[in-house]
């Protein structure tokens, strides 16, 4: 069976399928994570500031635990560990590139799920 690129199970289970909550969490994820990734990318590509890389990877790691984009959490764990050890800049770049490719593919899936929940909220409101 093909692995899903985005795993929403945590927010569905936690909220008992509450569409309003799921919509808001996905919306918040879409507002904060691309910006956070972009900050991480900029720091990695333009500096050797391992402390900032470590902190930014850690910050994103928490979000990656709520909505699980394939491989994102594991890659952030590795980036954070490498940055903490102040080593492996090349590996950090490779991990970042991998993560950005997957995240780009995940974006339409996230948008679709958000829209699905928006419609569910709308249909519930009509009843």
């Amino acid at each position: 069976m093909q692995e899903e690129i985005v795993d929403f199970s945590f927010i569905y289970e936690m909220s008992h399928n509450d569409s309003t909550y799921i919509y808001e969490v996905i919306d918040l994820f879409l507002k904060s994570v691309p910006e956070g990734l972009s900050k991480l990318e900029q720091t990695i590509r333009e500096s050797d500031d391992f402390l900032v890389i470590q902190k930014q990877a850690h910050f994103l790691k928490s979000s990656a635990n709520v909505i699980k984009v394939s491989g994102m959490y594991d890659n952030l764990v590795k980036i954070e560990a490498l940055a903490r050890a102040q080593t492996g800049k090349e590996e950090i770049v490779t991990l970042l590139d991998k993560m950005l490719i997957v995240f780009k593919d995940a974006l339409p899936v996230l948008e679709k799920e958000k829209e699905k929940n928006r419609l569910l909220i709308k249909s519930k409101a009509k009843k």
């Binding site: 945590f10 927010i11 936690m14 909220s15 008992h16 909550y21 808001e24 969490v25 918040l28 994820f29 904060s32 994570v33 902190k55 850690h58 910050f59 790691k61 928490s62 979000s63 635990n65 709520v66 764990v77």
Partner: protein, 139 residues
């Protein structure tokens, strides 16, 4: 409260909790979880705001605090709560991992416990309740 034909216990009914976390997504998840358990939850984004809230309001029963935050992290904030404002409110550290002996560091800073994300709503609520009860016995 009945949901999906199951009785859901609202363990934190009447409990006021302050959540300090710089990640808005985590704030939302934690607030939702605790609110579902009946708690009144207020959120702030850093340790300075958390201290400010504790100085302004005395109705909080417990504080949940992210270890890594800007301005004042969870450790510094707890030390400030314990040593400067002399408040013995239960403080529980929140972390995305338990690297670097985080639990030990949390206890050393004056926290009552440390939990790793993603946490289970019931287990977290029970932990909060037990910390509040312990605190009440101490006082």
């Amino acid at each position: 409260m009945i949901k999906n034909n199951k009785y859901i216990l609202r363990l934190l009914e009447g409990i006021n909790i302050l959540v300090a976390d710089d990640n808005p997504l985590n704030q939302k998840v934690t607030k939702f979880m605790l609110s579902k358990q009946g708690a009144e939850v207020q959120t702030v984004s850093n340790g300075v705001e958390a201290v400010d809230m504790l100085l302004k309001y005395s109705y909080f029963h417990a504080v949940l605090i992210d270890i890594h935050m800007p301005l004042m992290d969870g450790f510094e904030t707890t030390q400030y709560i314990r040593n400067d404002i002399k408040n013995n409110i239960p403080v529980i550290g929140l972390t995305a991992d338990l690297l670097d002996n985080a639990t030990e560091a949390c206890i050393e800073a004056g926290m009552n416990a440390c939990v790793c994300r993603p946490f289970d709503s019931d287990a977290l609520s029970e932990l909060i309740l037990s910390m509040i009860k312990k605190n009440e016995v101490k006082n």
